[in-house]
């Protein structure tokens, strides 16, 4: 990947992130922060590659911690975001069974 192409990708991705979020209602701010938190859990693939190329015990130890933390970011981010969004319901589709009814 040449430097200029990388720079273009960076620029376009930055605008994409801005545009995707720009019109979000406040009611979704917390789940969305959690959702974007999950998305940067993609660091897991990088941590896997880094540990996959580690050679000395020090590199392996740091790489191990990296993969562990990254997996926590991805899985934890997914679980809490899914739990929050699962609860958002409109009047017509009220949950049966749970809650005071």
């Amino acid at each position: 990947m040449t430097g200029m192409v990388a720079l273009y990708i960076f620029m376009l991705a930055a605008f994409t992130g801005y545009e995707v979020i720009a019109r979000v209602p406040v009611i979704l701010h917390t789940p969305l922060m959690s959702g974007s938190n999950f998305v940067h859990g993609i660091v897991l693939v990088g941590a896997m590659v880094a540990l996959g190329g580690a050679q000395t015990p020090l590199e392996k130890a740091i790489g191990f911690v990296g993969v562990l933390l990254a997996a926590g970011n991805a899985v934890g981010g997914y679980v809490v975001t899914e739990r929050m969004l699962e609860m958002f319901k409109a009047s017509g589709t009220r949950r049966v069974g749970k809650g005071p009814h």
């Binding site: 801005y18 974007s36 993609i42 941590a47 790489g63 005071p100």
Partner: protein, 462 residues
Amino acid sequence: MPAWMSADLAIQASYFVTAVLFIMGLKRMSSPVTARSGILWAGAGMAVATAITFLYPSMTNYGLIVPAMLIGSVLAWWSGKRVAMTNMPQMIALYNGMGGGAAAAIAAVELYRGGTAGYVTTTLAVAGGIIGAVSFSGSAVAFGKLQGLITRSLRFGGQQLLNLLLLAAALTLGALVAAGVNSSFAVLTGFFVVALVLGISMTLPIGGADMPVVISLYNALTGLAVGLEGFVLENAAMIIAGTVVGSAGTLLTQLMARAMNRSLGNVLFSGFGDTGGPATGAVTGSLKPIEASDVGVMLAFAQKVIVVPGYGMAVAQAQHKIWELCQLLIERGVQLRFAIHPVAGRMPGHMNVLLAEAGVPYDLISDLDEINAEFETADVALIIGANDVVNPVARTDKSSPIYGMPILNADKAKNVIVIKRGQGAGFSGIENALFYLDNTRMLYGDAQKAGAELIQAIKAVG
């Protein structure tokens, strides 16, 4: 053609699919109707990318990768499933910090290994390393504060100077590495240690009320760090996902800071946030208590009621009781809405999550801009555990720390009922002028107990 070339094509194609799924998932998460499917799309993207990465050429250490993934996943799954909705903000901080730590770990492995070729790549690795490390230790402090593990905000003279010195030291060491002058073990280790200390010392003085903005900022920083390390590893999925989160998170941070009437610089470099300003003498009048039975009658015969929930309601776990009360009123034909201030709860949107947990449909919930004009025609504004967000002092008293913050105009309602535990001031320690108005009555007690009493009172009306 060697076998890894086709694997490489499969990897690149999968990362492309992942990037598309992430962006579409985030897009779907920005509307309540499609939000649920958004996280599923993004989750599918993550699964694809993770699975294909096992095919990376010349990967070793599978015996370490798999256990590390399992331990991290199981711990996060277990904690994510059982965390209470009220504790969600600090949990997001924790998971976010883990991502930052992972980005810093990637930088560390690559730099110790000497795996970064050229000034540009090394500089990017160093930049991602410092940002990731600050986000890691800073988020850990934010978690500790909101979880109540760290109760004091450590402040001392010359603190800003110390932080500047730490930043300068980290940048100097980083520059030595990036310029190829000295990337010895000692310099690299010093660089990461100083960056970690900087994250801690930056976050310690920030008060609890400002923490959501800080968490959001660290979320954006982690995204940026991930994007930078993506350039180092030439991993397109990381570059795109990290950068998208970096810019989206920056915007989200600005929106939050604006909703709290603070600038980002103000949050990071001033002490306000849990100390509260000096009590101003502008508040006059007396607090007028009322009985639950009287409030019950008032609510039962009202035409329009606006409920203003605050964090106090969530702390009392009263959202279920309050929703039960509201359903009773709706059945009686009362026009009922929930008014949510942008910073109600511990984080913008947090209160919506807590109400959703109780089963309140989101179309009954209005934000500040939608509802503020309606208070004038409301018979009752029912304030439950909210304080600063309805304090009219924000409109009038220039000396107040919350002056200029947009508030819910609850004081314009014909009657104001405040359910409150005691006579203390709010989260920020500022006296609330609303409580002393002529049309305000105080219903003292725990929100859950008060809710139950109101339900009884309304049923008694028949």
